[in-house]
């Protein structure tokens, strides 16, 4: 079971205005693992994640979730797969500003299930507690700090009990202490839910704490992919340049 493949991406290609952001990208994600994708800012990490959950359509390529290629599916069918399998934490939480914290977390339940108010409220409480928050249901997103917004965003992503969780830069823009608290929260969520997780980030510390395997995205391709220890000790010049932050090397700046 450990090595069962949960997500398989084949020859994924996507261009924006003639600029190839993903170029024949291949990768396999195992069931239950936490895969970290490293890459410098603006290299297409978020674009990669959005293809996995079908928010973007590739120019060509396939994205298998289990046995189903979601690329040719219409939005209505992808939507069903998202509801059954996916939760995603967006870069700054992407909370709806017009709704309170509680309403934000409850939203997928209200729109997607026929649960009663009491059951929804219980579930919201449970997920907020899982991310270390209590009694903040009535606050508005505006009044929350960056770290709190991520936590609420994660609670909302978890409320449908997803089998696959996607994290888009979960620690960017946070101070090291808050960032670490988010890292350990992600570990905790992993322990409780056992979900397959993909984390894209440029934060090496985050990667060190949460990832089982690590890949490096550059030039539209996965340049290196290995177990975390092996990855960090790899002789691959791209990996060496990235993890040591060298200015000289195969990765171009700018």
């Amino acid at each position: 079971m450990e090595s069962e493949i949960s997500i398989r991406v084949k020859k994924l290609t996507k261009s924006f205005n003639g600029n190839k952001v993903l170029d024949n990208l291949d990768i396999e994600i195992r069931k239950g693992e936490t895969l970290g994708i490293l890459g410098k800012s603006g290299i297409g990490k978020s674009v990669f994640l959005k293809h996995i959950i079908g928010l973007m359509k590739p120019d060509s390529g396939e994205v298998y979730i289990g046995a189903i290629d979601i690329v040719p599916l219409p939005e209505t069918e992808i939507s069903i797969i998202r509801r059954m399998l996916f939760g995603m934490l967006f870069q700054t939480g992407a909370l709806l500003n017009s709704l309170s914290v509680g309403e934000n977390v409850a939203l997928p339940l209200r729109e997607g299930t026929g649960l009663t108010d009491a059951k929804i409220n219980n579930k919201v409480k449970e997920k907020l507690e899982l991310v270390g928050l209590k009694d903040i249901e009535d606050q508005m997103p505006d009044s929350l700090s960056g770290g709190m917004r991520r936590r609420v965003g994660l609670a909302r992503a978890l409320v449908m009990d997803p089998k696959i969780i996607l994290y888009d830069e979960p620690t960017s823009g946070l101070d090291p202490i808050i960032a670490n608290s988010i890292n350990y929260m992600i570990l905790e969520v992993k322990k409780v839910t056992g979900a397959t997780s993909i984390v894209v980030t440029h934060d090496l510390n985050c990667m060190n704490i949460i990832a089982d395997r690590v890949g490096l995205l550059y030039d539209g391709k996965i340049m290196a992919l290995d177990e975390k220890e092996k990855f960090l000790n790899s002789k691959n010049p791209y990996v060496q340049q990235f993890i040591h932050g060298k200015i000289e090397g195969p990765i171009k700046i700018g």
Partner: protein
């Protein structure tokens, strides 16, 4: 050669835009069949589009009515026909100016606000977040605004008509000595039920146009704060143009 291909691509992107707007309209109509499940959202939008437009619409209506009283009144005075002022003001307002001016005000106020709000949600990934939670943005964001706009536009138009007619009377009374009984009496004789219902039909259609264009531009927004500003401008411009053009064709069909 290059110029030709530029023309062709402008034509293509124009056609593509029309196609996208019609698709959005179709999907909005589809989700309107389950509108009763989101009454809270619709009522909230009715308040934002409708109630908050009342002061602006009232101000516009009273001065429009007054200026019509002034202009038409002095012309009518030449023929000693000032008693008919009510007919002139009411017919113009009910048939044309009421729905069109109200539409332009609502497009500038509420349509622009819709674009700015949805556009900000788009650039801050909130729309993507909705989709990631299997919530269709058309159902959640567009449909309530569409229904609400089509309900409040006729109400605001009736308000414009009534206040405008009142404004006309104020001037007729003060400057021309027109009696209320004559002002209203001739008005009731000449302005038909058909005039009123046609004005209402127009206003419902304008409401739909404002919401669809406002939401379309919002959902198409890209490129941060600057993109939101650009989308908002486009939304107002496109709504204005569509209201004015469709006004002609609706009038042509209805009369």
């Amino acid at each position: 050669m290059a110029q030709n291909s530029r023309k062709a691509s402008a034509f293509d992107s124009g056609m593509q835009r029309i196609g996208e707007i019609l698709t959005l309209l179709y999907r909005t109509l589809y989700f309107s069949t389950v509108a009763h499940r989101n009454l809270k959202g619709i009522i909230q939008q009715m308040s934002e589009i409708g109630v908050e437009s009342v002061p602006m619409v009232s101000l516009m209506a009273i001065f429009t009515g007054m200026v019509m009283g002034l202009q038409a009144g002095h012309e009518l005075l030449k023929f000693q026909a000032q008693e008919f002022l009510g007919v002139g003001v009411a017919a113009t307002l009910v048939r044309e100016l009421g729905p069109v001016l109200t539409g332009l005000i609502v497009a500038g106020r509420a349509g622009a606000a819709m674009t700015a709000e949805i556009g900000t949600m788009q650039v801050s990934e909130e729309v993507d977040a909705l989709r990631s939670m299997a919530i269709d943005p058309v159902k959640y964001l567009v449909m309530p605004r569409f229904i609400a706009a089509m309900i409040v536009m006729p109400l605001l138009t009736i308000l414009t008509d009534v206040i405008g007619i009142g404004g006309g009377f104020l001037i007729g009374r003060a400057q021309l000595g027109v009696r209320l009984s004559a002002y209203v009496g001739h008005m009731v004789d000449f302005v038909t039920l058909k005039d009123i219902s046609n004005g209402i039909i127009k206003s419902v259609i304008f409401g739909g146009i404002i919401a669809i264009i406002g939401c379309y531009q919002g959902l198409k927004t890209e490129g941060g704060a600057r993109g939101v500003g650009k989308a908002t401008t486009l939304s107002v411009v496109d709504s204005f143009i569509l209201i004015l053009i469709s006004d002609y064709f609706i009038t042509h069909i209805l009369y």
